[in-house]
């Protein structure tokens, strides 16, 4: 077998292992869905009425893209904890003494994280429809939404694997993803950036989650903005590459 196909086969085996872990521990998935739904109810039903998101715009339509991004970032804690947990156990050393592709042990985590994000995002979209979500997206735009969610999840997953490897303990690995959970609040997820104070607004406009949320919002509204979409894709690809390089180099360092 060639190196690439061996690596692919190893990754598939590791992916099955991580999937089994996730299925044995359904609390992770449940948690990853429940928290965003609670946030959704809180923002849409409790707070949303007081926000001015532009004339004629339903708050559920405004908030759903931001909630999707929050859903992705909220699910990452489980990944960094799992990655770190793996490192502190002997099983990784066993794999390392075997002729197993180095990346396979990490790609398993990345793929499972991406799948879990997709499942959680689907649940959030389903919930949004129940609450009167009325997107104007065409089939092609829905495909764009799916593609962007996968790309953002994938990028965030690599970054999280890097965080998990860099942390000293599973607990601190979980804590390390907290900034990623907080960042959507400091974006245009729940209120437009124009309504914010100057300093905060500048941060909001330049942080990566804003173009990602705006790109999703445009696609879902059937009114995609090419500038935001390009920025969103660029940020994601950048994060994926940085996360990948960081994760692989720290993986090699940790014996």
């Amino acid at each position: 077998m060639s190196t690439v196909s061996t690596a692919m086969a190893d990754s598939a085996i590791m992916l099955r292992r991580n999937l089994k872990h996730t299925l044995r521990n359904p609390v992770t998935v449940f948690n990853a869905i429940l928290f965003p739904i609670v946030m959704m109810l809180l923002f849409v039903k409790v707070l949303g009425g007081g926000f001015d998101v532009g004339a004629g715009v339903d708050y559920i339509d405004y908030a759903t893209p931001g909630l999707l991004v929050m859903t992705i970032s909220y699910g990452l804690g489980a990944t960094s904890t799992a990655v770190n947990d793996d490192m502190t156990k002997g099983i990784i050393n066993r794999f390392k003494t075997m002729d197993v592709s180095r990346g396979a042990m990490l790609t398993g985590h990345v793929v499972v994280t991406t799948v879990r994000c997709l499942v959680a995002c689907s649940a959030i979209i389903g919930m949004a429809f129940l609450m009167g979500f009325d997107p104007g997206a065409s089939a092609a735009e829905w495909l764009g939404v799916l593609g962007l969610i996968v790309l953002v999840s994938f990028a965030a997953a690599w970054l999280t694997v890097g965080l998990g490897l860099a942390a000293k303990s599973p607990e601190s690995a979980g804590m390390a993803t907290v900034p990623l959970i907080m960042l959507p609040f400091l974006s245009s997820a729940f209120v437009p950036s124009e309504t914010m104070g100057t300093g905060v607004r500048q941060f909001v406009e330049y942080q990566p989650f804003t173009p990602i949320i705006e790109a999703l919002r445009g696609l879902l509204a059937g009114n995609p903005s090419s500038g935001d979409t390009i920025a969103a894709v660029a940020w994601s690809v950048g994060f994926a590459v940085i996360g990948y390089l960081w994760a692989v180099s720290s993986f090699k360092k940790r014996a």
Binding site: A9, K20, K89, I91, R94, K96, T97, D99, A255
Partner: protein
């Protein structure tokens, strides 16, 4: 045909300014059991980590299964199996799934047959479907070794495989090691149990302070240190003084413990002559123990450090005692 399964020379490893391995070298013939013996912190695990490609050496040549660990890492990994000090099993999978994972990674054909065979051999059939997190320490260790055997590696590294196991599980482990050797597998074993090295190893190296203090068969090592002795203990101070003055030529005395040591090779004939002679000078000890040199003595003599207070005094634990 290669005869050395493992060949190491000039191996050095330093962590910060602490020299862990100070230029060690040894050879392990294929199909034999080689034991690295040493106290905690002697560098045993570091040696295993380097030999199994988990760590890189600072200097030296290490060949495993004919491949250099630095340049032929892939070849080394394909030829070895490792069971470390801490059971490397996946808690969230069942015993069977752990074995299946290994079989898949090793691309074994006929997985089911292999897995059923291993479960049976290691007496894990009943708990095969249970999650490993529910296993006892001994079961985890057995599963760990079973996982190591998947794919029939030609060289198996066992890093303190029986540390923390009860005596029965330890004997099971030993039996399995013997079966592996009978199949032609080379075993590299580290242990702090002298009994284990004595039972299993063809050759033993004693590692102390990053250097190999001695190397050879168990018998060769035992010959390295002075012979045994007969130890006489007294409870009555008068009897002790009487014996000490009568035996002042032959025995080494220990006033505090009220005991005397008479050199002896431990044979029946010599023991009888000592007893006859003690009778003739009217000495009656309260306790008599025969001490033959064993690996404990070799180990203690070779790994003697500044903190000897910690290691002496255990010598007599395993000895057959004859009380009068």
């Amino acid at each position: 045909m290669r005869t050395s399964a493992i060949a190491v020379s000039g191996l050095r490893k330093t962590f910060g300014d602490k020299v862990v391995l100070d230029g060690i070298g040894f050879e392990v013939p294929a199909g034999s059991v080689y034991s690295l013996l040493g106290p905690n912190g002697a560098g045993k695990t570091t040696t295993v980590n380097i030999l199994t490609t988990l760590m890189t050496a600072d200097a030296g040549v290490v060949q495993v299964a004919g491949h250099d660990v630095a340049s032929g890492t892939k070849g080394v990994r394909a030829a070895i199996g490792v069971t470390g000090q801490f059971a490397a099993v996946d808690d969230l999978l069942s015993g069977r799934e752990n074995l299946l994972l290994m079989a898949e990674l090793k691309r074994v054909r006929n997985k089911e047959k292999l897995i059923s065979g291993l479960l049976e051999r290691f007496d894990l059939v009943e708990s095969a479907q249970k999650l490993v997190s529910t296993y006892s320490g001994g079961m985890r260790r057995k599963l760990d070794l079973a996982m190591t055997l998947v794919g029939r590696p030609e060289i198996i590294f066992l890093d303190e495989p029986t540390t923390g196991l009860d005596p029965r599980s330890r004997r099971t482990m030993w039996q399995i090691v013997r079966e592996l050797v009978a199949d032609g597998t080379t075993i590299f074993l580290t242990t702090q149990y002298l009994e284990e090295a004595d039972e299993l190893a063809d050759r033993i190296a004693v590692l102390s302070n990053g250097k190999i203090a001695a190397e050879g068969t168990a018998d060769e090592l035992k010959r390295l240190i002075p012979g045994g002795h007969v130890l006489l203990r007294f409870t009555d101070p008068a009897a002790y003084r009487h014996a000490a003055s009568a035996l002042r030529e032959e025995a080494t005395k220990d006033d505090e413990a009220q005991s005397l040591q008479i050199p002896s090779d431990g044979t029946q004939r010599e023991l009888r002559s000592i007893l006859d002679w003690l009778d003739s000078v009217d000495i009656e000890a309260d306790e008599l123990t025969v001490h033959t040199p064993d690996l404990d003595d070799v180990f203690l003599a070779l790994t003697e450090r500044t903190d000897t207070g910690l290691t002496t005094g255990t010598n007599y634990l395993n000895k057959a005692a004859i009380s009068q």
